[in-house]
Subunit: 203 residues, 2 copies
């Protein structure tokens, strides 16, 4: 059963259990999805900041970003758990013969690549949610400014949580495969940090 | 039906709808609850950092903090939405006669007090979750360090999101009632910020 089909209470219980999955990667995607949802709420409200037509247009664009990012993040809640479970399964493959050793090595490599790319996609989607949050705060209903800011805080937490997992897993891919992924991550973090700071949610 | 009894997907849909509730206050409590859950996961793992007995003891204490904070935050997801709805209901009370006006004024005051105290409790519980996260990171299984850090990031997002709502609602209570609440909030923010910074999750 997909994690998001569980009751929210049961999902929290699974996060709290001492089993390693679902863990930080799925929780980061969940936080990002909740942040994107709040931003979508603000963008979809009938009232804009001053009522100007341009605000409605910008909110429409931001709503599309928030929805797209939110849909990806919902998918990533499950994908992160599956990616971690695949790494554990690959390490458990038999390693008696040379053929088995080679097959195991290649399964581990494929699983680690996935376990790096999934949180990297989470980080990217959280970056998009933060961009949408900034538009929501600048153009949306002033009485929902706190919701836009809270959405940004949650998306930034998702971004930093995802970054933890990218940084742990990328090195095992080797320099050539790791470098471009870490570069993408640092760009997402830099942009996200700037937007979060502009919205005053970094404390 | 309590919000946490909804499927996680349905809860995200409700956050994303343009209805004002559930909004940022409930989302902040949810993020804090997810953060506390991750921290509980790390504290409950069989392995500690080096295997020292003192680590297990500290993790036991932190687990109790994380569970207590998590239980409060789960309750606060619903309480925040109810508190907001009560404010809206109070403003809609009739104001035709002097008696009605007085009753309405007193209902608004009671509702605004609740709408300040609920996010203040969310902020406090997130502060406790951050304290537990720091113990989990210092004493827990090193392979779960990223989970402890992600838990801290989510709890800090919950704290800043809750702070938004306290700051919006407190001024309507008048200086005398607002001041001690804002002071409690600033202390929670200062402690939470310090712990989040020490764990490297403020970007």
């Amino acid at each position: 059963m997909p994690l998001l089909e569980l009751s929210a209470r049961e999902l929290l219980d699974r996060l709290a259990s001492s089993d390693p999955t679902p863990g930080g990667g799925s929780a980061a995607a969940l936080a990002g999805a909740a942040g994107a949802a709040l931003v979508a709420m603000v963008c979809g409200m009938p009232k804009t900041r001053t009522g100007a037509a341009e605000e409605r247009e910008r909110l429409g664009t931001a709503l599309a970003w928030a929805r797209e990012a939110g849909a990806r993040l919902r998918r990533l809640v499950d994908e992160d758990t599956r990616a971690y479970d695949a790494v554990v399964a690959a390490y458990r493959l038999p390693k008696g013969t040379d053929e088995e050793k080679a097959a195991r090595r290649s399964a581990i490599e494929a699983a680690m690549t996935r376990a790096t790319d999934v949180p990297l996609e989470t980080a990217e989607a959280c970056r998009v949610a933060l961009r949408a949050a900034q538009e929501a705060a600048a153009n949306g209903n002033p009485s929902a400014l706190s919701d836009a800011r809270t959405g940004a805080a949650l998306a930034f937490a998702g971004l930093t949580g995802a970054a933890e997992n990218v940084r742990i897993n990328a090195p095992s891919l080797g320099e050539e495969a790791a470098a471009p992924r870490l570069e993408t991550l640092e760009k997402a973090l830099a942009e996200g940090r700037e937007r979060a700071r502009a919205l005053g949610v970094l404390g």
